[in-house]
Symmetry: C2
Subunit: 782 residues, 2 copies
């Protein structure tokens, strides 16, 4: 480290400048603004250094997080690599990119299918035995069997989550969303997470919880994509040489986007909906080229699913292999609707928005309470899960118990479809005499998919009474809230659809007479309004619902209800996934600029002391610095004797420094060795970014005491084209640059000559509103 | 202008540096690349200045083009404006943004509906009269009526295009695409273009050309959005004060994106397809927030359409108001398909890709030939159009004439549906005796929508013979090619769908026996494969076709065929719209980086001489410079006595300079006046960007000779936060920054101290491959 570039507090002049400039502007305050009073406003002043958390809670375990780096590191190594790629390599890369995406699609399709079959069989067996016991009037045994079966499955799922992979609990969509925004927490996409996510989700859904497997499928898809892109383990020498071009954050991001889309597709059998989900909710960056690749991935996933379902139709997939994936049949042909119908739909949208916003608010509170319990340790997590399971079992068995029987509609009882024997069908007998059915049991003592199918079913106006629907709605809404936070992979789609559908059907019955719309259609619209109110997705939910119901005539109504519910809910709080991202402490870069940033310039937030390297640096200094700090990027300054005055050569990454040091390309004097020397010892592939949480650390270095006094030439690994901003660049515009290009480091250079060539580095944490608010409390309050 | 910043050729050192660096790298060429031979490669050398065209052919008239500027100009004026906006203004802006989008949706829905009704009535009247004359056996009169009707309509459309608005000819999608990429040609979105586009499109479609109204609807939607956003004319004082917040390129772009999506929606009644079309094909920038707004716009457009169609069902819309918008009914329930079916589909995809690529190739040649004719003047355009109309009429009347009659299928003739009387229906009588029909007339002597409906119809295996389909395919494929370039608003969707559908149906008949798929389904898949092969859209075409046919079961097959045809066609050439954008000379910024740019740095392409202003500049110098150059942005240098050494203050725009000069805020000495002085004379709104092709010019300035020797303070209008790159930044990365942020100017700053603070400005033209190829021919060849 040269004396010119030792730790310094170069930000003071910049800060002073911004203050002067602020006053300038106040003088010019001609016709708008607060007038004279504003001149008395206290001047900006800084408070402390960067204190925002670099750790996040992922699955209730504190976990160190890092940023991903989508910038192309244009150093000599990269140029060498890029030049050495012939046409064959480029073709191989292109083909492999597609092969990997399609492989991800098929794998996710397979996983989706098998987890579905597993759920169908486990839950089906459980429900069949319960129903058989009840047919023999052994109600207590049936109840005990049911409740203990659920508790055992719940305990198994919770134990997996608590002991094997805490990051697998919950939906997983917030984590995937954060990853695609550039936040890397090692455990999010680990193989153990994938395993627990799949198995835990199967157990959790089979245990009769009010939760879905849709969110977990998205996470599963992303994990699969991450593993496929990684292609085995480099540590054990298992990696495939062909995959070397994919060892960077950009290609991984693309693949994981495809994986997330395939996950939605596998969950809902909605290929277009999957693409739109990835586009609308999951990703933060999108390119047109990605649209096509994502679409192909979801197409493959659909085809795999379709093929397997065909295969199962012939009865090869166990006891209950027939139902499989949800595909509802709302075959109400609404050619036209009246103003009264529209009014009912608008009301449904408004109420859905309100209840959705309330759901988010309550979920936030409950999750905060649960985190106290979950933090106490793994056994507590299991206890909490089993407790919730017991409550759920009591509700789903007890509420039908207290419900009176309803006589079967004549058209159904005549055809022998009421009450239904066995597992599926619209009308459950429960304790009722022949010719009658238990409405509550038909929706509650069932798998969630069947419950939704029953609620959506058209032409069955009086199947569920008002009181049944009201009780069911209240129970599902509350159970959905208390279930999400337990240590089980749990999606939010199903609880929201369930409560929305029951609420919609309820409203449809109340509005029954004046509108000509079917109650099944009302249930669908209710589900849409709740989805809009909690998740705040529009186009993707709309398309997913269309693909689920296979009826495009409903499109305008679904659109209307989604728009209204999202607008209403947006007045109160953020979408549920954004809320969870925030609560987990993941530093998510928002797309919209914080207005407060307009009053600040880039120089105001860079935090000292800045550590720079000289282009040819003493090895001891480099090693010391790496050991002493946790920074991931260091500016490299070209100074004497290589340049007459200090100038910015570029930026060097910690990981590249470690690889270079490991290769021990040292010289005894302070001279340039050039790139050739490096390439003799290292291939470009050695600098490829290791998977999340892997890679060399400074403790892995094997250097002698003598090495410390030699020199290392950083030219070959220095990124000569780092993105820079001037210190007087408005922070809002710097943030736009940072986010749009997906940067990890951004150099702040001085405006006036005669200063050190770089005065600081901006990172993701410097752009977090919390950090800026800490520095300049009165700016944030503006 | 200060001496320090006079025109200079500051790029030479940068260029020299890049060369040195190039050699550095060659030395380091360790294991890959061409080895020693590469050292002999001639060094980079520049050729000439920026010679890429700043003019483009829009509608066969040469038209000066400008770039749009999506950067936020953070000068004192902007900050003042932003600070003066209270909560009420922000709310008003938010509400207005939505109101405008929904207004655009409704207007486009209305226009789409009325142009449809107009076409239905004009073409319906024409065809009905022809058919009546033929029923009276007055064949010659019928032919003369038919051909002269078509020629008259064609001549009217061509005259409108040639004399009123040449930019209205053609599809319009390439122009909209270029606009949304940041290329502004004044006539693209002018009111006259809108008028001609609507009326000309109605005439053109009614004239029986093989062209569609879908592309023109997209252009119409964009024009409507542009006009709504403009909100009247500022020149005549008709603008609405509330709209002042929308006087910038960013908000205009958003609104025009909504308009384009609404256009697709109105054309196909496909709201989700419209959103995806805008996302996949039209826009170059996309934000998640826009997805929602676009979706709402298309939802409104659909609802307007649906309401009006309902209204027309009761027979209020003229003679032929019933058919209205296309909505095909392919109700073949394919639950499963065999390997043989898949093989047929794959073959269809491959052939569709090949024929699609051939279509693009031939279209390019034909358009180049036509441009010679069109350039000769308006009368020639009309002659060409009428000639093509005559050929089309002869084909559509003559080919059925030569076709033999087919006996009606018994089930249709029994129910009186064959041959059909009047206009609609599957079986046209033409000259045939009762009980027989003319297959060729059923598809050719009809509106294009009806022809597509007939081709798509399921369960009518033998309706069209192999020879009929083959002839029709050949005729439509060739007519589609020769029609596009004539001076009529003409979409490419319909010709491509028509030829694709006939080709698919033909293939379906040839494959008939071994596959279980319906020939109507084959026609649909053929249309998909041709759309994939020419337009290279995937997701949006898929969704549009789904929304048209209302059958989601077809999804996997459509996806498969689209993927294959696009992949095949991409091996040969670019999509048809990209090709037309290129041919029209519009400087479209591609999303992918040209690989050649990696070998260059930003300093290599900036073209001198650079013109800068001092922060307080002599008025005469400013006026002279504005008159002498056509540059739109000038760096502003802070120098003595305001700063000890020259430093970059920011960037000032020509339009802002003109407004400031017009206000005559001058001082006799070289002193800062500050922002207050400017705000006394001007409101922030005065600096708002005028509509395309409007705004002040330097000749509008009204300055005396004495004014020329006074000084003007540029501080208040200088953008203090321009995006900058270092001269040694790799050109590829600079281009990414430029494109991702939608910039118009990017300052290149020196790396070494002691040089002028800015050495050049990069604009869109400096990043065009043509320009770079001209400068460094051997780089492009790499």
């Amino acid at each position: 480290m040269t004396p010119a570039a030792t730790p310094m507090s170069a930000t003071t002049p910049a800060s002073a400048k911004s203050v002067r400039w602020e006053i300038d502007l106040e003088e010019g305050d001609g016709d708008g603004g607060g007038g004279g009073g504003e001149l008395e406003r206290p001047l900006l002043h800084r408070r402390g250094a960067n204190t925002t958390s670099q750790m996040a809670v992922v699955g209730a375990n504190i976990c160190p997080i890092e940023s991903l780096d989508y910038e192309i590191v244009e150093n000599d190594v990269y140029k060498q690599d890029w030049r050495s790629r012939g046409k064959a390599q480029i073709f191989q890369y292109q083909v492999l990119k597609w092969v990997l995406a399609l492989l991800v699609g098929s794998l996710v399709g397979l996983i989706g299918f098998f987890s579905n079959i597993a759920v169908e069989n486990i839950a089906g067996f459980k429900l069949l035995l319960t129903s058989n016991l009840m047919l023999q009037n052994r109600y207590k045994v049936a109840f005990l069997w049911y409740i203990s079966c659920n508790a055992a499955l719940a305990a198994a799922a919770a134990a997996l989550c608590a002991y094997v992979s805490p990051a697998a609990a919950g939906s997983g969509i917030p984590e995937v969303k954060a990853y695609l925004n550039g936040v890397d927490a090692p455990s999010i996409l680990a193989p153990s997470t994938l395993f627990v996510k799949i198995v835990g989700s199967v157990f959790g859904v089979s245990a009769g919880f009010v939760l879905g497997k849709e969110g977990p499928m998205v996470h599963t898809g992303s994990c699969v994509a991450s593993l496929v892109g990684q292609g085995g383990s480099r540590k054990y020498g298992l990696t495939w040489r062909w995959l070397r071009y994919f060892k960077n954050d950009l290609d991984r991001r693309d693949l994981i986007t495809c994986g997330a889309a395939a996950g939605v597709t596998a969950a809902f059998r909605a290929p277009v909906g999957g693409v739109l989900f990835a586009l609308e909710e999951a990703t933060s960056w999108w390119r047109s080229a990605l649209l096509w690749r994502t679409f192909s991935t979801t197409a493959v996933a659909t085809m795999v699913l379709r093929f397997l379902i065909e295969y199962c139709r012939s009865g090869n997939c166990g006891l209950f292999g027939n139902g499989g994936l949800i595909m509802f049949d709302v075959s109400s042909q609404v050619a036209s609707y009246t103003a009264m119908d529209l009014a009912a739909v608008v009301l449904l949208g408004v109420l859905g928005g309100l209840l959705g916003a309330l759901f988010n608010f309550l979920l936030d509170r409950i999750l905060r309470t649960y985190s106290y319990i979950n933090e106490k340790g793994a056994p507590w997590k299991i206890v909490l899960t089993v407790a919730i399971s017991l409550v759920t079992s009591c509700c789903s068995f007890g509420l039908p118990w207290m419900t009176t029987c309803t006589p079967c509609p004549p058209e159904f009882s005549a055809s022998g479809r009421c009450p239904t024997i066995g597992r599926s069908g619209n009308f459950k007998g429960f304790r009722c005499p022949p010719g009658q059915y238990n409405a509550m049991a038909s929706i509650f003592l069932n798998t969630n998919d069947d419950a939704i199918r029953n609620l959506f079913s058209g032409g069955t106006y009086n199947e569920f009474g008002v009181s049944t629907l009201l009780t069911f709605f209240a129970a599902v809404y509350s159970l959905g809230l208390v279930t999400y936070g337990v240590a089980v992979p749990s999606g939010l789609f199903i609880p929201v659809i369930l409560s929305g559908a029951s609420f919609g059907r309820l409203l449809g019955m109340l509005f029954g007479a004046p509108t000509g719309l079917d109650t099944g259609l009302f249930a669908l619209l209710g589900a849409a309004s709740f989805l809009g109110g909690t998740m705040r997705m529009t186009v993707s939910v709309c398309v997913i619902l269309l693909e689920l119901t296979n009826d495009l005539v409903l499109l305008p109504l679904i659109m209307l209800v989604l728009l209204i519910s999202k607008t209403v809910a947006d007045c109160f709080n953020k979408g549920v996934y954004d809320q969870i991202v925030r609560m987990k402490g993941l530093p998510y870069l928002e797309v919209h600029r914080e207005p407060c940033m307009r009053s600040l310039v880039a120089g105001d937030v860079v935090s000292g002391p800045l550590i720079t390297f000289s282009t040819v640096e003493r090895v001891g200094t480099v090693v010391d610095t790496l050991r002493r700090t946790s920074h991931n990027g260091f500016p490299v300054i070209e100074d004497e004797p290589f340049a007459p005055a200090p100038e910015l050569c570029g930026l060097v990454l910690r990981s590249h420094l470690l690889v270079l040091l490991q290769s021990r390309t040292f010289t005894s004097d302070r001279v340039k060795t050039g790139a050739a020397e490096v390439f003799r010892k290292l291939a470009p592939f050695d600098f490829a970014k290791a998977g999340s949480g892997k890679g060399l650390t400074v403790d892995d270095l094997d250097l002698t005491e003598d090495d410390m006094d030699t020199y290392v030439d950083l030219h070959p690994i220095t990124n000569r084209s780092p993105y820079t901003v001037m210190e007087n660049m408005s922070l809002a515009k710097a943030a736009v640059l940072f986010r749009e290009l997906g940067l990890r480091h951004m150099c702040v250079v001085p405006r006036t000559p005669g200063r050190p060539p770089v005065i600081g580095i901006l990172t993701r944490h410097d752009l977090m509103p919390e950090y800026i608010g800490g520095l300049y409390p009165n700016v944030l309050r503006e």
